[in-house]
């Protein structure tokens, strides 16, 4: 009895559910939601490494997402390469940017880092909007028709769904591995108390920079996946503040600093977003962001640990009530 309730079973069920979802829901609408969900889960899980585990709250992660989204179409536009060839370039640029931001700000308190991230993201967004090489305000376009398999331009959503799912799986596996190792312990120690971590010999600045670099690399990959699917990028859809907002809210809603928190957050938020969009039509996006803002404020004020922590607190009580009632009956 006890064996079946172990978390491992939950993970297997989740994995099976995600693998089977597009088989059970075959309509394009549901598959599109599935792909959007996976992308949100990947981005938020990547943010979660530095923002959740290490507690360094980036509010400008779109800078990495945007770099990852631009480079595939840039190598295609400039040299006619298949877009996936631009993925490593995006990752390298994102790593460089992570170090550039992390080195000065991680000497100071966490607020500086947050301010720097939002300012740099905005700086890059405006700059890309004026830079002709990257199409300025118009942006870049990918191959309309696949020239070969390596363009990864598919007609349906299905191939994208499984590619994204594989990347999400890799990311969660990496996070789960690191979580149990020294690096993971160091990140959580820094989040809880930098002063105490330092006194125990934790290399605080180095750990933060590593966390940011890893997070940036995966966020960049998420941007690349996004653009390979859509085949189009402009400054707002790459670097816009709402890209960053979505990563933060998805992770924080589910539970920042937990392995599956971002997944849970995406599971709730993406269907909700798609519902508000279809209820309110074109004008719905504005309402969606009002809702986002409201959710973020409520999380900050009442449940900084997200739904995950709330569940851990509430579940034992519910279980007790359930069992006592079952007993009575």
């Amino acid at each position: 009895m006890r064996k079946f309730s172990s978390p491992r079973v939950g993970v297997l069920l989740l994995a099976a559910g995600l693998l089977l979802y597009p088989m059970l829901f075959t309509g394009p609408f549901y598959r599109d939601i599935g792909v959007t969900f996976l992308l949100a889960a990947i981005s938020a899980s990547a943010w979660n490494i530095v923002g959740g585990y290490a507690g360094q709250v980036s509010v400008g992660h779109s800078m990495f997402f945007g770099l990852g989204a631009y480079t595939p179409l840039l190598v295609y536009t400039l040299w006619g390469w298949p877009p996936i060839a631009g993925i490593p370039l995006g990752i390298v640029l994102s790593l460089a940017l992570a170090v550039l931001i992390g080195l000065p700000t991680f000497r100071l308190t966490g607020h500086y880092f947050s301010m720097a991230t939002i300012a740099v993201a905005e700086l890059i967004r405006i700059f890309f909007g004026t830079w002709d090489l990257v199409g300025a305000a118009i942006g870049l376009q990918g191959p309309a028709v696949a020239r070969s398999f390596w363009d990864l331009t598919f007609r349906g959503e299905l191939p994208y769904y499984y590619i994204f799912l594989a990347v999400l799986g890799i990311l969660l596996l990496v996070t789960a591995t690191l979580e149990r190792r020294r690096f993971g312990f160091y990140m959580r120690a820094i989040k809880a108390s930098e002063r105490a971590a330092k006194s125990l010999g934790v290399p605080v600045r180095g750990t933060k920079i590593k966390a940011l670099a890893l997070s940036a690399a995966f966020t960049s990959a998420a941007g690349s996946l996004y653009v390979i699917k859509t085949g189009f990028i402009d400054p707002d859809s790459g670097f816009g503040i709402l890209i960053s907002v979505q990563m933060v809210i998805v992770a924080a809603l589910g539970g920042a600093g937990t392995l599956f928190g971002p997944l849970v957050g995406a599971l709730i938020l993406i269907p909700l977003q798609s519902a508000t969009n279809s209820w309110f039509g074109g004008g719905g996006s504005g309402l969606t962001y009002i809702l986002y803002g409201g959710i973020i404020v409520v999380i900050a004020r009442f449940e900084p640990g997200g739904l995950f922590e709330m569940w851990q607190r509430v579940a034992p009580k519910l279980r007790k009530r359930f069992w006592s009632r079952a007993h009575a009956a």
């Binding site: 607020h111 947050s114 405006i126 004026t130 504005g286 803002g293 900050a300």
Partner: protein, 285 residues
């Protein structure tokens, strides 16, 4: 002559930057807290001015004071209902609280007022005057002068009055201030009121001279970060100098490089500052 015109225009806008940034720096100095919604406070001040002019009427003095009061009340309300509860919470909660607030206010404004640019109807400050060979809109001149006066006023209030020294005492050492019979909670609520009020009146002043839309909040919030980073975190006088400098740099880069580059230059300056002098120009090393 054009050169002088650019410089004066930049300084006048910079004076308003200084005024709203002094509100941000006050909060940082008092409680080591960054308000991501500060630019939205400025934006709301602009719309309060517009609403007062349309529904109630009255001149710039009336709607500026109305904006200051409305935002003061909002600031205190936000402190009491939200900030007070997250100030001891983890960093994530602190940053998310005002970040979420910024989104809430920004997109509510888009929803209520639409994304279109608006401007105040012609006020008594219309027209331009010729001063030593350059033409200046009266509204800009008055707004800039009032902004400098108010920023200096805030500085002197903090430095020379009882309320000011109580505020600074809380900033210096909360526990010691409590022993002296000061209630930190009240002082912090007052600081939030003053901070938002400064942003509100700065917004109203700006509305007399420039058109705007709900998206200006994001821009002004970032500009306030740059001003505070340059002037030193927690220094009102520092943000006065820094505000003027940023206004000047913006005007100069818009003039020589083109309007779209003015924000790139300013944000680039912010990144450079983080690398070179994170404590700000006026800050202690």
């Amino acid at each position: 002559m054009v050169f002088v015109q650019v410089i004066v225009g930049g300084l006048l806008l910079g004076a308003i930057y200084a005024l709203f940034s002094s509100g941000l720096t006050l909060i940082w100095g008092m409680m080591n807290f960054i308000n991501f919604a500060h630019g939205e406070f400025v934006m709301l001040g602009m719309y309060v001015a517009l609403l007062v002019v349309t529904w109630v009427g009255g001149g710039p003095a009336i709607f500026s004071i109305a904006a200051a009061l409305a935002l003061f009340v909002l600031g205190v309300g936000i402190y009491v209902s939200l900030i007070r509860h997250v100030i001891r919470a983890p960093m994530l909660a602190q940053i998310l609280s005002t970040f979420g607030l910024a989104l809430l206010l920004r997109y509510s404004a888009f929803w209520v007022f639409s994304a279109n640019f608006v401007s105040l109807p012609q006020t008594s400050l219309g027209g331009t005057i010729k001063l030593g060979g350059i033409f200046l809109p009266v509204a800009q001149l008055v707004a800039g002068a009032v902004a400098i006066t108010l920023t200096l006023g805030l500085h002197f209030t903090l430095t020379y009055t009882t309320v000011g020294s109580k505020l600074l005492a809380v900033a210096e050492d909360r526990a010691a201030a409590m022993l002296m019979g000061i209630r930190p909670d009240r002082m912090q609520a007052l600081a939030w009121g003053l901070s938002a009020g400064a942003a509100g009146i700065a917004g109203a002043l700006m509305a007399t001279a420039y058109p705007w839309s709900p998206s200006v909040g994001e821009t002004f919030g970032l500009i306030a970060f740059v001003v505070v980073a340059l002037g030193g975190f927690g220094s009102v006088l520092g943000s006065l100098y820094a505000g003027l400098i940023i206004g000047l740099i913006q005007a100069a880069s818009a003039f020589w490089l083109g309007a779209i580059y003015k924000d790139i230059v300013v944000y680039g300056l912010f990144v450079a500052l983080l690398w070179l002098r994170p404590q700000g120009l006026m800050g202690k090393a």
